[in-house]
């Protein structure tokens, strides 16, 4: 990348912890936009191009994308302890908050108003992921082959409920062969 700074960026564990703490706590319904704001716009640790490069790596890897980002960025600027600091910052407060919510739900979940509210919330959360899924799936409509692979993945896991690992062992190589064939053509 052309935009690499002459001096590689070095940060303290504390600075990393603080930045990811802020992003994790302010990130509702997706932390990635918040991490971008904190690291690119506020602190200017990364240029937009470097940030996009980092996202593409995190999406290439399995697991939660934002956790991968904390680990990789943390290790680049502060070594292994940087990874740990960024990850703890990202997840510490949200895990504590979600457990408080869960304990409250356990205590008051049987009350009729709470039960009705959570029923509505569940339908809403399901609607949210439906919108996300459609946003990801829509660009595939220009490619019949991709649509077939996506439909197979949907049917295998959503309808027939085949075991996950064997399904991926078939679908992912198949999809890669098709992608390689198309990239060459």
């Amino acid at each position: 990348m052309e935009s690499l700074p002459a001096q590689p960026l070095r940060l303290s564990s504390l600075a990393l912890f603080g930045a990811f703490f802020q992003a994790g706590l302010m990130g509702f319904g997706g932390v990635l936009p918040m991490i971008r704001r904190v690291m690119v716009e506020d602190r200017k640790w990364l240029t937009p191009a470097e940030f996009n490069e980092l996202i593409s790596l995190c999406q290439f890897l399995p697991g939660a994308n934002v956790a991968n980002m904390a680990v990789i960025f943390g290790s680049r600027v502060c070594g292994p302890q940087g990874s740990v600091a960024a990850l703890l910052g990202l997840l510490g407060a949200p895990v504590a908050i979600v457990l408080v919510i869960a304990e409250l739900y356990a205590r008051y979940g049987e009350l009729a108003p709470v039960r009705h509210m959570v029923t509505g919330l569940s339908a809403g959360a399901a609607g949210l992921i439906l919108a996300t899924a459609l946003k990801i799936a829509m660009p595939l409509r220009t490619s019949p082959l991709n649509l077939v692979v996506a439909a197979l993945a949907f049917a295998a896991l959503g309808i027939v409920r085949l075991p996950f690992l064997p399904s991926l062992c078939v679908l992912v190589p198949l999809s890669m062969v098709l992608a390689g064939w198309k990239l060459r053509a």
């Binding site: 319904g29 956790a67 997840l91 509210m117 809403g124």
Partner: protein
């Protein structure tokens, strides 16, 4: 103890298989914790998922609550760490190797190949959660309404979640 071990094994395996993000493993999680282990009902599964969405932080916090439902705080910690550590260890190693392979042709093929599988898994996740949340026709309408709202307006998702909770409070009596 055996529950904690089972939680650790289930979520550690899914950690490596979470292509394109944590949400693609939701169908497999639902299958494991609801239909195989019978730790919770499908309704409870989607309720915990929804509570995690109402909290700040990454989408993967739903994993924390699935663990919590099975074994309380210990279960929450075990499930969270099991889902995090394998993928994070891989990320730690690959983060340093990325410069070496990011421009290779095979990297582009792998990434392009993952896209349609990710899309199919996300649609499967959405289908299962909508189905699990649909206690009656009103819930189904609410899910559809939120999905349409998110697709065609620029409003923040949290706004729709709040509206859905309010609709539940008023409409599901």
């Amino acid at each position: 103890m055996s529950h904690l071990l089972a939680l650790a094994l289930i979520f550690a395996e899914l950690s490596f298989l979470a292509i394109g993000g944590a949400s693609t493993t939701l169908p497999a999680m639902e299958h494991a914790v609801v239909h195989q282990q019978h730790w919770m009902s499908a309704t409870e599964f989607v309720r915990l998922y929804a509570l995690a969405q109402a909290a700040p932080g990454p989408n993967m916090l739903a994993v924390t609550l699935f663990g919590w439902e099975v074994s309380g705080i210990a279960g929450a910690i075990v499930a969270t760490l099991a889902f995090l550590l394998p993928a994070c260890a891989l990320a730690f190693v690959m983060g340093h190797l990325w410069v070496r392979f990011r421009d290779r042709q095979w990297r582009k093929v792998v990434q392009a190949g993952l896209v349609p599988v990710t899309a199919g898994l996300m649609v499967a996740a959405a289908y299962l959660l909508v189905r699990d949340a649909a206690v009656d026709w009103r819930a189904l309408v609410l899910s559809a309404g939120v999905a349409i709202g998110c697709l065609f307006t620029k409003r923040h998702p949290l706004w729709f979640l709040g509206l859905a909770a309010l609709a539940g409070l008023i409409g599901f009596r």
